[in-house]
């Protein structure tokens, strides 16, 4: 017995005395500062994470209602190009249409904090790699990518809010104290910053990448960003110059088949300048589930981006005129015949063969979930049209979760349009403007623009070309804001197509499906979210 007693006492004392290290545990899921910045490889992992922030995609629960190109409520829903099918919780139907968005109920709720989180990642990377003893070439290549990505994130903010605080170092509340609270820079300062940063990036980036590096930022991406920033800022001559440089470089060409640009098998083709990389299985996005049409039953797409009649009316007929311009090829009984090729690649309309069946939106077909239902609440089609562009037919209409199509941020067609617009504004409609636009019209099977257009006429043609060519790519929303045309455009109702009758006796009737309230006194800039204002007394709100 005594022995047990002593044994227990010994153990008690020993464990008590030997326990200094008992709580020393090294975590198994994190790296130290020293390891991360030790080599270009591990530092490159940080850069990979920055790329990963380009657009996380509309993963349920995080970015679900966040408007962006890749979303269940994409940016074109905030224009007269499209209407979202679902209603509840969809900002384009609830906040935007009613004009009930404000700092506490913003549409772009997380964009502010997300973009600054991304910018911090870039700042940290640039600071740490800048100090690292890497091979100079390698270092330059790494830094240029981060500088481009930072500029891209800033451009997202600037396009929505105007001038924002330009933060280019890592904020540290312990070291910097109140200096972490920054006021907004002016819009002009921000544009100048974008231009300077894009130049810096372009200088360090290659024209292209190969193999496992495809998808990284290139010289062309930085230049396109620069040209777009100048265009958005109305710096016409500079914008024309930048875009001309890209055109003249000969790095990019138009992809011959318009409908094939966005297919997974053609990813990173000769037209693509910069795109968000996705891969099915590894990193699927759910766009097809959101955007796909409802098929003959419930259970496939959400019709979350249904093209409007307003957009359909912008597609010219093969004679180069629209219905409104009195095209001779417009047949009221067959309104979809003889259109711009891009129409067929962009829009699903009543009677079109699609996936081995026929897509109908006309009234009176039993069990047709795609039936035109302007007041749709969950099922039905709000405009009479379905989205065709961007979708991979191999995945439609079902099993659409495993979509891996890349999301295009910049492609060569935009460079041509950017150039045409800038040059027309700076110099008027010279031959180079015609050439840029006609290149796109060729692909659409349309005649070239008539010669002798005035600057104003050319402006209108370029804007129509741009709207049709870049539909559903998230550009038109920003165009309406920078052209300051939103107030006129939104004063007109958004229309859909109501088709009645049967067989060859169909009646086509354009009906109003949506009204957008727009207040020109404030809505050209988005409200900065209230949380940002509350947390930084130096931030001045836009006119809200």
């Amino acid at each position: 017995m005594k022995r047990i007693t002593y044994l227990l006492a010994t153990v008690l004392l020993c464990t008590g005395a030997c326990s200094d290290n008992a709580l020393e545990i090294t975590p198994t899921d994190r790296l130290s500062d020293a390891i991360v910045w030790e080599s270009p490889t591990t530092a490159g992992f940080v850069l990979n994470d920055i790329y990963d922030q380009l657009n996380a995609g509309p993963i349920i629960g995080t970015w679900l209602h966040l408007p962006s190109q890749i979303s269940n409520d994409p940016l074109d829903n905030f224009t007269d190009n499209a209407v979202s099918g679902p209603v509840a919780g969809i900002p384009s139907r609830q906040l935007f249409d009613n004009n009930s968005y404000n700092p506490s109920n913003p549409i772009f709720d997380q964009t502010w904090s997300k973009m600054y989180a991304n910018i911090r990642k870039c700042n940290l990377f640039i600071e740490k790699v800048g100090q690292a003893a890497f091979d100079e070439e390698e270092k330059k290549m790494l830094l240029a990518q981060a500088i481009f990505l930072r500029a891209h994130f800033y451009k997202t903010l600037i396009d929505l809010y105007g001038g924002v605080p330009l933060i280019v170092e890592v904020l540290d509340n312990t070291a910097q104290g109140d200096a972490i609270f920054r006021p907004r820079n002016t819009y002009e300062e921000c544009v100048a910053f974008l231009v300077e940063q894009a130049d810096l990036a372009a200088a360090g980036l290659p024209e292209s990448w190969s193999g496992a590096d495809v998808g990284r930022a290139t010289w062309g991406a930085a230049m396109t960003l620069k040209g777009a920033a100048q265009l958005y800022a109305g710096q016409w001559a500079e914008a024309a110059e930048t875009n001309r440089t890209i055109i003249e470089s000969g790095v990019y060409r138009l992809f011959p088949d318009f409908s094939g640009i966005f297919l997974p098998e053609n990813e990173n083709n000769e037209e693509i300048i910069f795109d968000v990389q996705y891969a099915p299985v590894i990193r699927n996005i759910r766009t097809h589930q959101f955007w796909g049409v409802l098929w003959a039953e419930k259970g496939s797409g959400w019709s979350a981006m249904s093209p409007s009649q307003n957009l359909v009316d912008q597609f010219e007929f093969k004679d180069g005129k629209t219905e409104a311009e009195g095209s001779a090829m417009f047949d009221p009984e067959k309104p979809y015949d003889n259109r711009d090729e891009r129409f067929y690649a962009t829009i699903l309309y009543d009677g079109v063969p699609w996936q081995g069946r026929t897509y109908y939106t006309r009234l009176g077909i039993p069990n047709n979930y795609n039936e035109f239902t302007p007041t749709v609440s969950g099922n039905g089609n709000p405009t009479g049209y379905g989205l065709r562009k961007l979708l991979d037919p191999a995945l439609m209409p079902l099993n659409n979760n495993l979509n891996g199509s890349n999301a295009v941020i910049y492609r060569y067609a935009e460079v041509l349009l950017n150039y045409a617009e800038a040059q027309n504004e700076a110099q008027g409609p010279d031959q180079s403007v015609y050439e840029a636009v006609n290149a796109l019209r060729d692909r659409g099977g349309l005649p070239h623009l008539p010669q002798g257009l005035s600057q104003m006429e050319m402006r209108q043609r370029i804007r129509r070309e741009r709207r049709v060519e870049l539909a559903f790519e998230g550009k038109y929303f920003y165009d309406l804001l920078r052209w300051r045309t939103a107030e006129q455009v939104f004063s007109q109702p958004v229309k859909g197509m109501r088709i009645t009758g049967s067989g060859d006796n169909l009646n086509y009737e354009k009906v109003n499906v949506r009204t957008i309230t727009f207040d020109a006194s404030k809505n050209y800039l988005m409200p900065i979210p209230q949380y940002a204002i509350d947390q930084n007394p130096k931030l001045e709100q836009n006119n809200y």
């Binding site: 047990i4 007693t5 153990v11 464990t15 008992a22 709580l23 545990i25 975590p27 198994t28 899921d29 994190r30 790296l31 130290s32 991360v36 940080v46 990979n48 994470d49 790329y51 990963d52 679902p86 509840a88 609830q94 109920n105 600054y116 989180a117 911090r120 940290l124 933060i167 904020l171 509340n173 972490i180 920054r182 193999g211 496992a212 495809v214 998808g215 990813e267 990389q277 891969a279 990193r283 098929w295 003959a296 039953e297 419930k298 026929t358 109908y360 039993p366 069990n367 302007p374 007041t375 969950g378 039905g380 079902l398 099993n399 209230q530 949380y531 940002a532 509350d534 947390q535 930084n536």
Partner: protein, 1099 residues
């Protein structure tokens, strides 16, 4: 052994051994033999030597003798007992008769009857009377009587009755044996479970409450925590789900006093374990430690209260073998009713007409929905009825055995629980095996070994989560078909339930515990004890997900097959292993010196563990073999993941209780505790507590003077305890790794990403609670009525709160939480219990408990915008207060001019245009606009501030009825999504939503009818608050014990049939959904009402 004993007796008694024997004169009624011997000793002057055990077996003696000689008297007393005596040298030695072969005393058999009563003389019906060493057991009848037809004259009867101290009584040749049992439950001599040990109830100075396992076992629920509701004052148990095996409750002790985790610490036999997995029949008691004095020994884990579960162990001599089981059915407690197809179509037409839209359904469609003539194209589907099964089975069976000798005692059990879900592919099964042995290996050494195994299995279809059957069922409009008239499924949900493959989870827990206890012979009162506990949790999951086919009707009315689920089968499989080890080394000391009573202990405790997980998956199976190795060989179809971690904690515990004269009690307890979460130098802290008690009833001015007061004790305690919050390594700045971006275009490869984690806080530590408690315990009317009352106050500080508002949104990274939050909690508890037995054989017991606990945030981070506005200020308000607009009813037509514009002067809402019937909000800041600056605190907390329970028991003539009512008050529900708005996101409409605003129904409960919710009406506001108060009949049990006469032939000692139920009745103001709903949109697995038929048998 015996020699020692006699030697001691000699030493004590020999002082008086000097006179000579005299003749005896005795006149005694029912006097214990021991007392009689004392009287004889006094009269004779002789010393008596005997073994106390022998004497105890002799029943009280009635004797009347005048001047009788000692041998004669003794012969008479021992008649019928196997005792003999010898007298020599002024000493009497009493011995057992040594039986020799052929010389055995022939024992006479006789009929024995009797009556069992309580101390008040009331008969006890249903008491068990067992012939010790024999094989017969009888149960007393309604008048407390029992009868054995034939028993040996020297038989010893063991009498037991729930709630009373068992008693052994010798028949001693009597034909009538009356037994008086003393009440047990609220005896001050009882031992109660406290932190790291037990204590005499009389000496307890902390706030402690407990409930017996037998009470908990009445509730037909899968998880023990769910049976705690209403049983213990101060304990809130809220069951958030009715999923099979998933009814475990959120437990809060004395309210929520922290912004961090408010979960209490739960220990099973002193070791952390998920008590929900236990077989309830293995539980002896559940004890809840509430105040600082009680929880201080748990240091940084004690601040939210501690639940101690003590499991059953074997007892010497009492061999028992029992079966306990039930079979029953479950049904959701409440489901709203929804519009049928015709109602839906007409109401949606109305809604569209209200906003000027064309009506979606024409007259022809309406008529078809009404008459059901074309069910394939114009169906009327009862989605709730189709998807949410009612009366689904649930069953439980358990076998227990226990017993032992003086030296070795054992307990063992096996349990099985099966619970079916709302669909046939959803179920839960659990197997429990327990065995424990207590061995007195030497006079001073005890060795205990426990084994406890749990195997749980959850099954669900791969294609649909069980909870989503509820959301699909309650949200899908009835105009959509679920299947066609030819039987083909019309919606993916049906094949998802039946053909989508499986999602299996297996949960295996092994608990081993060994304990050695050594009394130190040379230091009386000192005991050393060592405990080693090992726990292994091995969970596996396997999901085999298959493609599905359902059908659509196309334009030609042809059925078209449609695919859902994956393109080809996929398999995901994972294992999750967790090991934990606890070492406890105890030194306990108990000593009585005169009127001083000391009870203390010191414990060193060390816990550590490892955990790891590994998962693998493959997609694109072309063969129907659901094994990882049988899938596609394409590396691109492979995936895997894994991680591991370690943890450690250690502490030194002390507790010292001192009692003077059984009246004045003092206690100190505490712990020096360390945890790996924090930075070196920040890892250890000290949590002390002090307590005192005064047993007023022991004072001379009360004791034996006030007959109705049996006990009155005043207690007070004050001390510090801790709560571990946040997560490990928040003190470290470091980078995380994740699977990141995809480069490579058409040949994609995923690359690794490294990201900066939240900014570290090197000073991070635990939160501390300063708790004060004052309580009163009282017993009245010979312990028949008991009452406990406590008031408590708590100040929690150092709560981890995110300082996000202290840096701008442009900062770009989360900064680690800091220990800056402060909260105050206060409340009171009262419990009363009354037991009574009447002479007619009716026994009843009624008890109730009431608790109130509220909290207030004293310090938190908030923005200037909210802090400067008294309506919006978070500081000073209860934690988790809901903020929203204050509604002012609905807009009426009189609020608008003839153009439909809001009248001048009325505040303008900023959520789009409003119409009559929309929600009107108050302009609290008076700026003429309704916006976020008008928000204020709305409603009551989500977790009730008031909880109460009422339990009752009535027993009469073999019948017994147990009822537990449980309720909550000062709580709010918030309606959101389809619970609030009709046609929300394509959902249908509930019947209760038909009370919407129209010009003729201006006092409606819901706003005007619109085909989709209006932004203005969707703002968080008081309009959608409903009372969350409720009272429910939580558990009801009616039992019937089958009369003994029917059981004797089948060798069953006792048989009881019972009918019981859970959540049978609910009283609440919003009765369409369960008041304990766990989510504002009620998209969860609804709570279930359970009815069972049970049987228990004792062999």
């Amino acid at each position: 052994m015996k020699t020692t004993f006699i030697f001691v007796l000699v030493a004590v008694l020999q002082v008086n051994a000097h006179t000579h024997a005299q003749p005896l004169t005795l006149n005694e009624q029912n006097i214990p033999l021991r007392e009689l011997i004392e009287k004889m000793r006094q009269q004779t002057g002789y010393d008596f030597f005997y073994d106390a055990k022998l004497i105890r077996a002799v029943s009280p003696v009635t004797i009347q003798v005048q001047d009788a000689p000692l041998p004669e008297v003794l012969t008479e007393i021992f008649d019928g007992y196997p005792l003999t005596f010898s007298i020599a040298d002024n000493a009497v030695v009493i011995k057992k008769v040594t039986l020799k072969a052929g010389n055995a005393i022939k024992r006479m058999q006789q009929s024995v009857s009797g009556m069992v009563r309580d101390a008040d003389g009331q008969p006890l019906a249903g008491a068990t009377v067992r012939h010790k060493g024999g094989d017969r057991t009888v149960i007393t009848d309604a008048s407390g009587r029992f009868q054995f037809p034939a028993l040996p004259q020297d038989a010893v009867l063991s009498v037991s009755y729930t709630g009373y101290l068992s008693q052994d009584i010798a028949v001693s040749g009597r034909e009538m044996v009356d037994v008086i049992l003393q009440q047990q439950v609220i005896s001050m001599e009882d031992v109660v479970v406290v932190g790291y040990g037990t204590q005499r109830k009389a000496d307890v100075t902390g706030a402690i409450a407990s409930v017996g396992g037998a009470e908990l076992a009445r509730a037909p629920v899968a998880n023990v925590s769910s049976s705690l509701a209403g049983r213990i004052p101060g304990v809130l148990a809220r069951s958030n789900s009715g999923a099979p095996g998933g009814d475990q409750a959120t437990i809060q002790i004395r309210g929520i006093n922290t912004t961090g985790s408010a979960d209490p610490l739960v220990l099973v036999d002193g070791v952390p374990m998920d008590y929900n997995l236990l077989n309830v029949d293995d539980i002896e008691t559940v004890t809840v430690l509430k105040d600082a004095a009680a929880v201080a020994p748990y240091g940084l884990a004690g601040a939210n209260g501690v639940i101690l579960v003590t499991t059953k162990r074997g007892k010497a001599g009492n061999f028992s073998f029992a079966y306990n089981g039930y079979y029953g059915f479950q049904t959701p407690t409440a489901i709203p009713t929804y519009l049928n197809a015709y109602e839906y179509a007409t109401t949606l037409n109305l809604a569209n007409a209200n906003v000027g839209n064309p009506e979606p359904f024409d007259a022809e469609a309406l008529e078809l929905y009404r008459n059901g003539a074309d069910p394939d194209r114009f169906p009327d589907t009862d989605w709730v009825g189709e998807l949410i099964g009612k009366h689904t089975p649930m069953t439980k069976h358990s076998l227990t055995f226990s017993g032992g000798s003086d030296r070795i005692r054992f307990f063992g059990s096996g349990g099985y629980l099966a619970q079916d879900g709302v669909a046939e592919t959803i179920d839960y099964n659990r197997y429990n095996v327990t065995a424990n042995v207590d061995a007195d290996v030497t006079e001073t050494t005890k060795f205990l070994i426990d084994v406890n195994l749990v195997a749980g299995a959850s099954n669900a279809p791969a294609g649909v989560a069980p909870a989503s059957l509820f959301s699909t069922g309650k949200e899908t409009p009835s105009i959509f078909p679920i299947r066609y008239s030819n039987g083909l499924p019309a919606h993916a949900v049906l094949p998802s339930i039946h053909e989508s493959g499986y999602d299996r989870e297996r949960n295996n827990v092994t608990n081993l515990r060994a304990e050695i206890e050594q009394r130190i012979p040379f230091a009386k009162g000192l005991t050393l004890r060592g405990v080693y506990a090992y726990r292994k949790v091995f969970d596996t999951n396997k999901t085999w997900n298959l493609p599905l086919t359902f059908y659509g009707l196309d334009g030609n009315n042809d059925f078209v097959p449609l695919q859902s689920g994956p393109n080809l089968p996929t398999l995901n499989q994972g294992v999750d292993e967790r090991y934990a080890q606890t070492i406890q080394l105890y030194a306990t000391y108990k000593k009585n010196v005169g009127r001083h009573n000391i009870d203390g202990l010191v414990v060193y405790e060390n816990r550590k563990g490892t955990e790891g997980e590994l998962s693998a998956s493959r997609i694109n199976y072309t063969v129907p073999l659901d094994e990882i190795g049988q899938g596609s060989s394409d590396r691109a179809d492979f995936d895997n993941d894994g991680s591991s971690a370690r943890w450690a904690q250690e502490g030194w515990v002390y507790r010292l209780n001192y009692a003077f004269n059984d009246r004045y009690l003092l206690g100190v307890s505490g712990r020096y505790d360390g945890h790996y979460y924090f930075a070196p130098g920040k890892r250890y802290a000290f949590f002390p507590a002090f307590s005192a008690g005064w047993r007023i009833s022991e004072e001379n001015f009360l004791k034996d003077r006030v007959g109705w007061l049996s006990e009155l004790k005043l207690r007070a305690s004050h001390g510090k305890s801790g709560n571990l919050a946040g997560s490990a390594f928040q003190y470290l700045t470091a980078y995380g790794i994740k699977s990141g971006y995809v480069f490579g275009g058409t040949n994609p490869t995923q690359v690794q990403g490294v990201f900066e984690r939240a900014q570290a806080n090197p000073n991070i530590t635990w939160e501390t609670a300063l708790k004060t408690d004052v309580g009163l315990d009282a017993l009245f009317f010979r312990n028949k009525l008991s009452a406990t009352f406590d008031v408590f106050f708590e100040r929690r500080s150092g709560m981890l709160i995110p300082p996000a508002t202290t840096v701008p949104a442009e900062y770009g990274i989360d900064i680690s939480e800091v220990n800056a939050g402060e909260m105050e909690g206060r409340g009171l508890e009262l419990s009363v219990d009354y037991k009574h037995n009447t002479s007619s054989g009716l026994a009843f017991q009624v008890g109730g408990n009431f608790s109130y606990a509220s909290n207030k945030l004293i310090q938190t981070f908030e923005t200037q915008a909210t802090y400067d506005n008294p309506n919006r200020r978070r500081t000073g308000r209860p934690w988790n207060t809901r903020f929203g607009l204050q509604d002012d009813g609905l807009y009426q037509e009189a609020d608008f001019d003839s153009e439909g514009n809001l009248l001048e002067g009325l505040p303008v809402p900023t959520y789009g245009r409003v119409y009559p019937g929309d929600i009107k909000y108050r302009d609290l800041n008076g700026d003429g606009r309704i916006d976020i600056n008008d928000e204020t605190a709305i409603g009551k907390p989500q977790f009730p501030e008031i909880i109460y329970g009422i339990n009752m028991m009535v027993a009469w003539k073999g019948f017994d009825l147990h009822a537990l009512f449980q309720g909550a008050g000062n709580a709010s529900l918030y309606l959101a999504g389809d619970l609030a708005y009709p046609f929300f996101n394509g959902a249908t409409m509930a019947h209760y939503q038909l009370d919407y605003w129209t010009p003729d129904n201006t006092g409606a409960a819901f706003p005007r009818l619109t085909p989709s919710p209006v932004t203005n009406n969707e703002q968080t506001s008081s309009f959608w608050i409903r009372s969350g108060s409720y009272l429910r009949l939580k558990t009801l049990e009616l039992g019937y014990s089958i009369p003994q006469s029917l059981l004797t032939r089948v060798a069953i000692k006792q048989a009881r049939l019972s009918l019981s139920g859970q959540n049978l009745l609910t009283f609440s103001s919003f009765k369409h959904i369960d008041p304990e709903m766990s989510q504002n949109r009620a998209r969860y697995y609804f709570q279930q009402k359970v009815y069972t038929l049970g049987l228990s048998l004792n062999f």
